[in-house]
Amino acid sequence: MLISLRDIIKEYPMGESSVKALAGVSFDISEGEFVAVMGPSGSGKSTLMNILGCLDRPTSGEYKLAGRLVSSMGDKELAHTRNRDIGFVFQAFNLLPRLTALENVMLPMSYGLVPASSRRSRAEEALGALGLSDKLHNKPKQMSGGEQQRVAIARALVLHPKMILADEPTGNLDSKNSDDIMRALSRLNEQGRTVVLVTHEKDVAAYAGRCLRFRDGRLVGDTVKPERGQCDED
């Protein structure tokens, strides 16, 4: 099992009381799955993704990633896990504005164990696979949203992580660009990589092989191989 969650609770203190963004969530994801996470706004999808991506810690509960208990990891180990095992794709792209596409994709490698000599060629290869060979030296501002998101995907996959986490990667894109992004993610999944994706759009969710539905911080639906329509917002 790649991901195993048990009774995950995430509370945010709100004055006297607190908000439960996740109110006890348990599920497993095996290696190679393509999972869509859906649910209304405020249902805890981003909170879940941040915990899965080791960007945040749950208030309580057990999160095992590839058999290792994340709560027992120190700062260094967490950083290495984020670096090697997880590729995160954000809705807001989150590229560094001062760096070129190539430099942005090389960034994770400077925190990893990749020898400096092979970094450039690996980054070029990753960008090439996403059809960006002619944009290597463009800064984010000089690219369209779709292109920026593809740079972000190249950055996420350049270290060949076990899983790609994407929080509404197509949220800021039109349908043409969304399709490009989803095809890229599907291809990654076909190559054996686990993909977990948050989305509001059923067209996007249709690429997935499994659908998790959330409401008020709880898992309310878990459908494998959803037929069209089964993963709708209800």
């Binding site: 941040n50 991506g53 960007l55 945040d56 700062d75 260094k76 950083a79 290495h80 984020r82 670096n83 090697r84 995160f88 954000f90 989150n94 590229l95 560094l96 001062r98 960034l107 994770p108 400077s110 925190y111 990893g112 950055r155």
Partner: protein
């Protein structure tokens, strides 16, 4: 992340905002420059003073009236006078010369319409030789002028220049406190060099025979100081002791005198100038601390501006140390660059200042090491807090920051 990359990253941080980095380091630049200049000038001045004193002859023992030791009032009656001088000259072995001097400051020296306030020096025959004074023009006193207390004088070069712009005064009459003297020569001496070098001060002196001075000024046989010129440097202590012994006997066991040597004087001067230099350098170092606070301030701004970047870097696998290193190295680089620029600046200012003042320019190695390590330390000390603040951010919180 390798250390080389961390440096590259920090350098990039500086490159993106070079003007800010420059302004940030300005405090350190000024602080380091001030410290270097002050130490260089202090050391240069000290070296100059010492070489001047040494040029007076490093083998002179001075005897002056009064004692640093407490002397009962009843035992302060004895005075240095000509007879003491004669006794010392006769009894102390190992001398190549001896001279007595009677000085009086604030004398009005007048030639035609010009009046200059000068110091009157009454000296014995060997006075100029013992005190390393150089005869510039004219001649020295003759034995008979000495013995009879003739009204003749030699003018110090500064005084002669002041009294008459060009032309010579030799053979003319000048008035010293209303009494006429015939000028027979002019002199200059390394003794004047000290003061002149220190502040461009002119030293106005007029030299007359001791007997004349005693008759005209005090009316007694008293002298202000006695100079004993020792033949060999290694005999200094022996001469000092012999002089003290002879003085105690001669002055009826009253220790109302002080015997010092060149070495004592140098020690004292060294201590005084060093203390002054360190005191001033310490004050200048305060500006370094102010510069450090400036660095901390800007680094905090820089961290706040880059919270999002920090979040992205952390999401991509940067460890706490990576972020800490990035910001700490940036702070240290800014302050070290400031230190280096400040050093160059201080060095140039010291060189120019010493050229103007005529000192040797002395930038001692320790001031360079001190300034550089100090600016590095400042970068570290004032960089730690902002860098740690950056490194401790939770990835989610940093990413959410707008």
């Amino acid at each position: 992340m390798k250390i080389r990359e961390a440096f590259k990253l920090a350098a990039e941080g500086i490159r993106t905002n070079p003007m800010r980095a420059f302004l940030t380091s300005l405090g350190v630049v000024i602080g380091v420059a001030a410290v270097i200049v002050i130490i260089a000038i202090g050391e240069g001045a000290r070296a100059q003073v010492i070489s001047n004193i040494e040029s007076l002859g490093s083998n002179i023992v001075y005897v002056t009236q009064g004692s640093a030791k407490p002397v009962p009032y009843s035992r302060q009656s004895s005075v240095l006078d000509s007879s003491v001088f004669v006794t010392l000259k006769g009894k102390v072995p190992g001398l190549v010369g001896a001279a007595a001097e009677l000085t009086r400051g604030g004398a009005q020296v007048r030639y035609e319409k010009n009046t200059v306030t000068a110091t009157v020096l009454g000296g014995t025959e060997d006075y100029m030789e013992v005190r390393n004074l150089e005869l510039l023009t004219g001649r020295q006193f003759t034995k008979s002028e000495m013995d009879e207390g003739a009204r003749v004088c030699l003018l110090g070069s500064d005084l002669a220049d002041e009294l008459v712009a060009d032309g010579t005064l030799i053979g003319r009459q000048v008035k010293v406190d209303g009494v006429s003297y015939r000028v027979i020569g002019t002199f200059s001496g390394s003794a004047m060099g000290i003061l002149r070098a220190m502040a461009g001060i002119k030293l106005y002196q007029v030299l007359i025979p001791l007997t004349t001075a005693q008759r005209r000024i005090t009316g007694t046989g008293a002298v202000s100081s006695i100079y004993l010129k020792v033949a060999r440097a290694e005999d200094m202590e022996a001469v000092k002791e012999a002089a003290e012994k002879a003085l105690i006997e001669k002055m009826a066991y009253e220790e109302n005198f002080t015997v010092t040597s060149q070495a004592d004087l140098l020690d004292t001067l060294n201590t005084i100038t060093r203390t002054m230099t360190y005191l001033l350098a310490g004050i200048a170092a305060v500006s370094l601390v102010v510069g450090g606070i400036g660095i901390m301030n800007i680094m905090l701004v820089s961290v706040t501006e880059r919270i999002k970047e920090i979040g992205i870097r952390k999401a991509l696998g940067a460890t706490k140390q990576d972020i800490l290193g990035q910001f700490l190295i940036e702070a240290v680089m800014i302050s070290c660059a400031g230190g280096a620029v400040g050093m160059a600046l201080g060095w140039s200012i010291a060189a120019i200042a010493s050229k103007i003042a005529g000192w040797p320019s002395l930038v001692p190695w320790y001031s360079v090491v001190l300034a550089l390590s100090f600016s590095m330390g400042i970068g570290l000390f004032f960089g730690v807090y902002p860098a740690n603040k950056a490194a401790s951010l939770q990835p989610v919180d940093a990413l959410r920051y707008e």
